[in-house]
Amino acid sequence: MSDWQSSPTATDYTIDELMITVLARQFTNEDQACNGMASFLPVSAFMLARLTHAPHLTWLAGAAGLEPKASKVPASTLESPLWADSVMYIEQYGDFWNYALNGRWLTKFCVGAAQLDQFGNANNSIIGSDYHRPKVRLPGTAGLGDMGSIGKLLYYWNPNHGPRSLVEKVDFISAAGYLGGGSEREDMGLTGGPQLVVTNLAVLDFEPDSKRMRLQSVHPGTTAEEVQEATGFELVTPESVPETAPPSVEQVRLIREDIDPDGMRKREFR
């Protein structure tokens, strides 16, 4: 944990490593982080945060193993090697939701979605117009359908920024974002909601009043125009869009050598 603060900015890094550092930055010593399946970038981010700025970040691996000592990212983020040497096995039905629903703990979640729209509504259910006869059956909402409605702060990651995954209107809302935008979510009594969308091209947030998705920063080597072109709706784009801060040399070393030497994080990119 020694020299991460004084480490110079890296020049040799890949997009997955950049996305991991952006996600890691969202988690502090006061948070409890939790990952689901096939979550190589979030798991790498939690590990990175714990090795650098947030050594006391609590981590609930696979929503089941508390404070594991996983030595590296395994081939599954929902399987036993990940929760090696945990301090607690939290049983999901009886117990995980006690903590997750409570509101005081596990307030931030990294989540993925097949479709995300301009107001941060997510779809993991179906592609098509007929729910019962879909063009594509997606995996299903799992816990996301809960997370969207119970005040959580959601951090979407999307390794494949494109007009099919970032759409004007989702075919089906399987997790509530800002619904129709503006105060619609708030008017229903829902707190929290989508905070950030971290893609392979840019970092996006939501404009406070309209709740429309907004370009926060573009990754080095990408322009705001390229991001807009890869997006299925009009982004709120400030006059000047900064570059996403790149990782440090030490962060890249930690990811490559200690956290994910097998390169599992690369699997998320088509």
Partner: protein, 296 residues
Amino acid sequence: MTDKLATLEDAVGDLVSDGDVVALQNMATQAAPMALVRELIRQGKRDLGLVVLVGGMAVDWLAAAGTINRLIGAAVSMEQFGLCQQYRAAVERGDVTVEELSETALNARLGAGARNLPFLPTKGLIGTDLIDQSENLVLIDDPFGGRPVVACRALVPDVALVHAHRADREGNIQYEPTILWPDIGIMPKAAQRVIVTAEEIVDTSRIRENPDRTVLPGFIVDAVIEVPYGAHPTSFYPRYGYDTSFHMAWAKVARDAEAAKGFLDRVVREPDTQAEYLNAAGGAQMIAAIERWRTT
């Protein structure tokens, strides 16, 4: 206590009927009672409804074999091995209908079923399109003046299928220390009948050594069957991990109906015993591989 010891054939034959709602212990690649799943297919059961929290290969097989025509669950995926393609195709064709529930909604439906309540509420799902998709979810007022909640109607499966580390002949079911998936906590208690496969059947005196490890009492269990490696190819920690090669072999054929049928013929319909199945799945070499999970 009554002797619950049975065979796969008799348990599935006697306790599962065509059209039943079957609750299946499962996660993406974990802890599924796969020997029971294979027996459902071997016996040619039809029109089953399936309840899963997160379904994996079991769902794909049951869809491929035409065993199920509806699914109630939160997700279906084999994680790093991809979506369940046979299931997907069956849903897209309209052969399998889906009641998609969030985790808290499914837990609430099963919890109400177990506790003989008409419903349990959740605050999940509010604002989503999922509420309208199911006749078993409805917004109700908070009688104490707060915001509405979603009432989730009780779900009572006809039969629950479970795999465990140990059981005695009386049906007391134990787990070794490992992550407990939610299915074991509530599904069997909501179901009208319970079939359990176990890695080993032990004497009750062995069960009494660790009463804190018993997860289901004998009085709710209808049949127990000894099936070593009964969760293969899913993982069953701490005994064995998931079978990577087997999952990849299935994923490779699963987009093609004919190839999938050939795979199921070879590993499901032809082997008559668990030993024959394990041989068809790779035998001693496979077993050595899945027992090496700690080092992967």
